[in-house]
């Protein structure tokens, strides 16, 4: 796989040569596994087949089984709710933080930005472990604070034994991990708004909210689109945090689609069902993002 570009090569080949490594990598490490996954989803593929490699095709049996399982649909709805709740919180909080940073004086701005960058940069595994420690039933800070605020029932309270509580902790964790990126990005976009625009609007007697609607929002729109779509992708496909904290429990109350597929594959060794579940997952995600992709192509004359 030589990537050097001979001078004599017709110029029309150059773009294809440039994308060749990306395409080759994707073919081996993304398309091939995806296809393999789809093939598996049409086979009977368990631990024995993985070891012996003699899988038989069974048609749509796995899909029928998955789609006919009430639990799967519960998980789908939970995943959509999880994604919506997280992204909504992230976007709202991040926008507020960005607007706040814009109004801050230098010292405070640096302070807040440093804090955000610190939270953003902390590796997921480390912060996830910290959250477990914060919410630990014994010696956990959160329980201590709650007890001292007068909620005596939180003495040694086991957060991770309660479904909604675990779900809430995971939401807090995801929002905490995601807001810095979103806020910094939105803030960066905010400062590109020429101040003259605001000044002239103020001279024209526009109110603050009016200026936000007619100047800030339109300029922020593309970046909102980008951040929103990234956050949707990240929360929808989020796995490590959930697995580390709750493994989808207690009692399945934090099982989202990626966790569900992992459980079926790794714990039950039904790679076929997991393949079907993940294929459906991808389809859902693609449908969710197609609207954004279309918008993007429409807006950018360049594409």
């Amino acid at each position: 796989m030589s990537l050097t570009l001979p001078r004599a090569l017709p110029r029309t080949y150059r773009p294809y040569l440039l994308i060749a490594p990306a395409v080759a990598g994707a073919a081996y490490l993304l398309v091939y596994p995806l296809v393999r996954n789809i093939v598996i989803s049409f086979q009977r593929y368990g631990m024995g087949e993985l070891i012996r490699g003699d899988a038989k095709f069974v048609g749509f049996e796995n899909y029928q089984k998955i789609l006919g399982d009430g639990e799967f649909w519960t998980v789908v709805w939970r995943t959509l709710w999880w994604t919506t709740l997280n992204t909504a919180l992230i976007m709202v909080i991040a926008t507020l933080v960005a607007l706040m940073i814009q109004r801050l004086r230098k010292v405070m701005r640096i302070l807040v930005m440093s804090g955000l960058v610190l939270a953003w940069a902390s590796p997921v595994i480390a912060t996830t472990t910290v959250f477990q420690w914060l919410f630990a039933s014994r010696y956990g800070v959160v329980n201590w604070v709650l007890v001292h605020l007068g909620f005596e029932s939180y003495e040694n309270y086991s957060w991770f034994a309660n479904g909604p509580a675990t779900f809430a902790i995971l939401v807090v964790l995801i929002v905490w991990q995601s807001v810095p990126f979103a806020a910094i990005t939105i803030h960066s976009a905010l400062i590109t708004v020429p101040t003259e625009l605001y000044e002239s609007a103020r001279l024209d007697g526009a109110s603050g909210s009016r200026m936000f609607r007619s100047i800030t929002l339109p300029i922020l729109r593309p970046i909102f689109g980008l951040v929103l779509s990234l956050e949707i992708i990240w929360t929808f496909t989020c796995f490590a945090q959930i697995w580390a904290i709750s493994k989808g429990g207690p009692d399945g109350s934090t099982t989202t689609l990626p966790v569900y597929a992992y459980q079926i594959a790794q714990s039950l060794h039904r790679y076929d069902l997991a393949g079907a579940a993940s294929t459906v997952t991808v389809l859902i995600l693609v449908v969710m993002l197609i609207a954004y992709a279309r918008q993007m192509f429409k807006e950018e004359a360049d594409l």
Partner: protein
């Protein structure tokens, strides 16, 4: 709790505290009006920093302080016991080195390959360009969590199990789509006219690219590589699945997960391990903080 923050020893806070009195003397009324805003800023700072702060302080606290009935928010005594326990754990430096290798090699590969592809999409006209970019965009939602088994099969069939380079390739692929999308938007944002003007001024084409485009692209390269670094540094599922027998090739996240198993509720040692794990990325981020923010703007604004 927010009001106590300035007494912490964090560098940013110290600056804030020293700057405050001067401002108070000069314009007390104005400051009062800005109080809610500054309080909100402080709250944001405390909330984003607290988990990281708690991780680091727990790691330094003697065990009896960690298990105190009243949590010590400002540690009075320090110990390095937890760190020595973490470092003394089998093979710590080896896993550290493995993770460093994986992160560095995969990020470098992704940058180089993505730069070529991004250039082709942003600056060249060719058939299939839109389609290629759409696929790259969609590849961002690849369900990596569900490709474990197919990837395992592929790795096994190409004799790449138990080998770090396989993980390098996978991390490279996980990072590639995002890197291409971001770098493309950077390239689009850099006017070609700049390069042309430089050429008019006597630069060669390559020289123009190197002197004009490349510096403008630097923030983009920086922010994408930071993203890649975080992803690769954190990745757990593949590292856990594809490194089976050669235990010396395990990466830090895998080690950290077994660490919390081994040390159970020894939160001091676990937090020390987490701190050591987070440290390289934190340092990288803090050093590059300003550039990262700038980088995100450039890329993101163009969407």
């Amino acid at each position: 709790m927010t009001t106590t923050a300035p007494t912490t020893t964090l560098p940013g806070t110290a600056r804030a505290a020293s700057a405050a009195p001067a401002a108070t003397a000069r314009e007390p009324r104005r400051l009062l009006r800005r109080l809610p805003l500054n309080l909100a800023a402080l709250l944001t700072f405390v909330l984003s920093v607290f988990p990281v702060y708690w991780m680091v302080t727990t790691a330094f606290k003697p065990t009896q302080d960690i298990q105190a009935d009243t949590p010590l928010f400002f540690p009075t005594s320090f110990t390095l016991d937890h760190f020595s326990k973490a470092i003394a754990a089998d093979g710590f430096w080896m896993f550290w080195r493995n993770s460093l290798f994986l992160t560095f090699s995969s990020v470098l590969m992704a940058l180089v390959v993505a730069l070529g592809a991004a250039f082709a999409v942003a600056r060249l006209r060719w058939h299939g360009r839109r389609g290629f970019y759409l696929l790259v965009f969609m590849a961002q939602v690849a369900p990596w969590g569900s490709l474990l088994i197919p990837m395992y099969i592929i790795a096994r069939d190409t004799d790449m199990l138990d080998k770090l380079p396989m993980l390098t390739l996978i991390y490279f692929m996980i990072n590639l789509p995002f890197t291409i999308v971001t770098l493309r938007s950077f390239l689009v944002g850099i006017p070609v006219e700049l390069e042309e003007a430089a050429q008019v001024d006597g630069c060669t084409r390559a020289g123009a690219f190197r002197r004009i485009t490349f510096p403008l692209l630097a923030p983009g390269l920086l922010s994408t590589s930071l993203f890649g670094t975080i992803t690769a540094w954190n990745e757990f599922a593949y590292a856990n699945m594809l490194i089976i027998k050669s235990q010396d090739d395990r990466s830090l996240p895998v080690w950290l997960s077994s660490f919390s198993n081994v040390f159970g509720t020894d939160w001091g040692a676990t937090m020390a391990a987490s701190t050591l794990f987070a440290l390289p990325v934190l340092i990288l981020f803090l050093v590059l903080q300003g550039r990262v923010a700038a980088g995100m703007t450039g890329g993101a604004v163009k969407g």
